[in-house]
């Protein structure tokens, strides 16, 4: 509807006013004249307030890219408000999107400013906001423009960066610069020890207190600082459990994606190069990279992870990673081929850590003997067996618990990496 139309209220007032006055004059019904008198005023004022403009209504969102739980405001733009007294906006319900005011209906007099709607996505991914309808009403509610259907807006919702920090060092740093302590000596700031001066040592490395005390020149040795290549393998094959959004229960894919986002942020902030492999029907591979822009790219890729029933687990994980890389496999590990591929990766020389993201998704229901409950328990037993065998091959498996999840495992791997190896 693209014109000012009389409202049912105006039509009602006109009918009552004219009908009452006509009955009074023509039929001599005095009571009808008294009853119709107020409607004459309402009808006359409503008719007189007819706007003559053709307003153009658009809505815009303050932000199009948000993290889960954050919010954005939708603002209305009306190019010509002459004759408009009241504006009503009603937003449709969209899954995993909270609106304020609740139920997405808001109205205000134009004198108070155009009404705004606030949206807050509660789950990562691509979120379509519900269709919105806008109605403009003239003074005395006589005329209405609309309701107009406004184009839908979409939000790209990045996974929530769950608080994650780790003090553990990555086991096999292999880059040139970074925050991890190298196994080799070199020009860094991390203190290693003091030794006698040798030809070629830089003079600024001489430690004068020790040299004076011993009567012989001594220099300070330091460790070089290196970065590491960290790969995140995200299992997007299935989504088990029901997602309640950022405030509710987490499905396996929720846990996987949020854990991957947290790990990516941690490693990029540490100065490591991070790569991402999404194992799904339309799998994506983001090569190793560093810096805030790369982190943004990783989060964007994670926000686009979709599960599809037709997706099949891969026979091998093609990372193109060198032997020095650290690989975090984030998965509920429900598919044997993925477990086999992880074991192959471990054999190829990478430091592989499996982050178990099953969470509470397959916890037993209230009725333990019910068929779905039995099936879930059987599947869980099989999965646990696969994980035990994987651990037997030397791949640590840790359930995701947020901050510090990987500390112990990374310490152990770092220690193991420093042990001299005998190669055949």
């Amino acid at each position: 509807m693209t014109s000012w139309q009389p409202t049912p209220a105006l039509v009602r007032a006109c009918l009552l006013a004219l009908g009452g006055v006509t009955a009074g004059v023509v039929l001599g019904q005095e009571v009808m004249v008294v009853l119709a008198a107020p409607f004459v005023v309402v009808a006359a004022m409503g008719l007189a307030a007819r706007p003559r403009t053709a307003p153009r209504v658009t809505a815009r969102l303050d932000h199009h890219r948000l993290h889960e739980g954050q919010g954005s405001t939708s603002r209305l733009d009306v190019d010509d408000l002459a004759g408009v007294e009241h504006v009503t906006r009603v937003a449709g319900v969209a899954p995993h999107v909270a609106t304020s005011p609740p139920y997405g209906a808001v109205g205000a007099l134009v004198d108070d400013g155009l009404p705004t709607l606030r949206f807050s996505p509660r789950r990562w991914g691509r979120r379509d906001l519900g269709s919105e309808r806008v109605g403009l009403t003239s003074a005395w509610a006589g005329w209405r423009w609309g309701p107009l259907d406004l184009p839908r807006h979409g939000l790209s919702v990045l996974p929530q960066t769950a608080p994650y920090d780790s003090r553990a060092e990555v086991p096999q740093p292999d880059g040139l610069v970074g925050r991890h302590r190298s196994r080799r000596l070199g020009g860094g700031t991390e203190f290693e020890g003091i030794r006698p001066f040798a030809t070629g040592d830089r003079l600024k490395r001489i430690t004068w207190p020790v040299s004076l005390r011993t009567g012989e020149l001594h220099v300070i040795t330091t460790r070089a600082e290196q970065d590491a290549g960290v790969w995140l393998v995200v299992d997007g094959l299935r989504d088990i459990g029901v997602s309640g959004g950022v405030d509710g229960a987490a499905s396996t894919l929720d846990l996987t994606v949020r854990a991957a986002a947290a790990l990516a942020e941690h490693h990029v902030r540490t100065g490591d190069r991070v790569g991402l492999l999404v194992v799904a029907a339309d799998g994506t591979r983001v090569p190793l990279g560093a810096g805030p822009r790369h982190l943004h790219r990783l989060h964007g890729t994670l926000a686009r992870v979709r599960t599809e029933a037709r997706s099949v687990p891969p026979e091998r994980l093609d990372l193109g990673a060198g032997a020095g890389s650290v690989v975090h496999v984030l998965s509920p590990m429900l598919f044997t081929p993925l477990v086999t591929a992880t074991a192959s990766l471990q054999r190829s020389g990478a430091s592989v850590i499996v982050v178990d993201t099953l969470g509470e998704a397959m916890s037993a229901g209230t009725d333990r003997l019910a068929l779905p409950s039995l099936a879930a328990r059987m599947q869980r037993i099989e999965r646990d067996d696969r994980l035990r065998r994987l651990a037997g091959l030397g791949t640590p498996v840790v359930p995701w618990r947020g901050p510090g999840t990987l500390d112990t495992v990374l310490h152990l791997l770092a220690r193991r990496a420093q042990v001299p190896k005998v190669r055949a």
Binding site: V31, V34, A37, Y103
Partner: protein, 168 residues
């Protein structure tokens, strides 16, 4: 069929309750005289439908039924202005409720604005009531009824012209 969508605002529910109750109350003023069964049945049913969809044309039905019954009763006593107030209040409650769905809470400033407008619209009621009770139609100068009829016809034409939709 659910009467209203879930999440209806209390203020919107209150307005709908008024839309239902006020026409019935205007009819109840006739007690102890009992209106015709058709009016007795028609007013609450049509008012209930109107309360559910305040933006619907059905809203004219309870108002016409109540007004028609009082006109046929033809008693110009104190109850007639009261009925006029109740019918106008029902109309204005429906107007306020029709600004949006039931989930839209009523804006306080808008409600105040319509209260003032309602009081303004009620100004002609006592004037008309007193005029009709105090003046004798026989004293009216010749041509009054003809002029009134012509004015009414002109008003009808103007209203029809103004309310005609203009598709753009």
């Amino acid at each position: 069929m659910r009467p209203l969508a879930s999440g209806a605002a209390p203020s919107a529910l209150a307005l709908r309750a008024l839309v239902l109750a006020l026409p019935c109350l205007a009819l109840a003023l006739a007690l102890p005289e009992v209106p015709h069964w058709f009016v007795l049945l028609g007013v609450p049913v049509s008012a209930a439908v109107w309360a559910r969809t305040p933006d619907h044309a059905v809203g004219v039905v309870p108002l016409v039924l109540v007004g028609g019954w009082w006109a046929s009763h033809d008693v110009l006593d104190w109850r007639v202005p009261v009925v006029a107030v109740l019918l106008l209040a029902a109309h204005l409650a429906a107007v306020l409720a029709a600004y949006g769905p039931a989930t839209l809470a009523v804006d306080r400033r808008l409600a105040r604005l319509w209260l003032v407008r309602g009081l303004l619209a009620l100004v002609p009621v006592p004037v008309t009531w007193l005029a009709l009770r105090g003046l004798d139609p026989a004293w009216a100068p010749p041509g009054t009824w003809l002029a009134a009829g012509a004015l009414l016809s002109a008003l009808l034409l103007v209203t029809a012209r103004l309310t005609r939709s203009e598709a753009r």
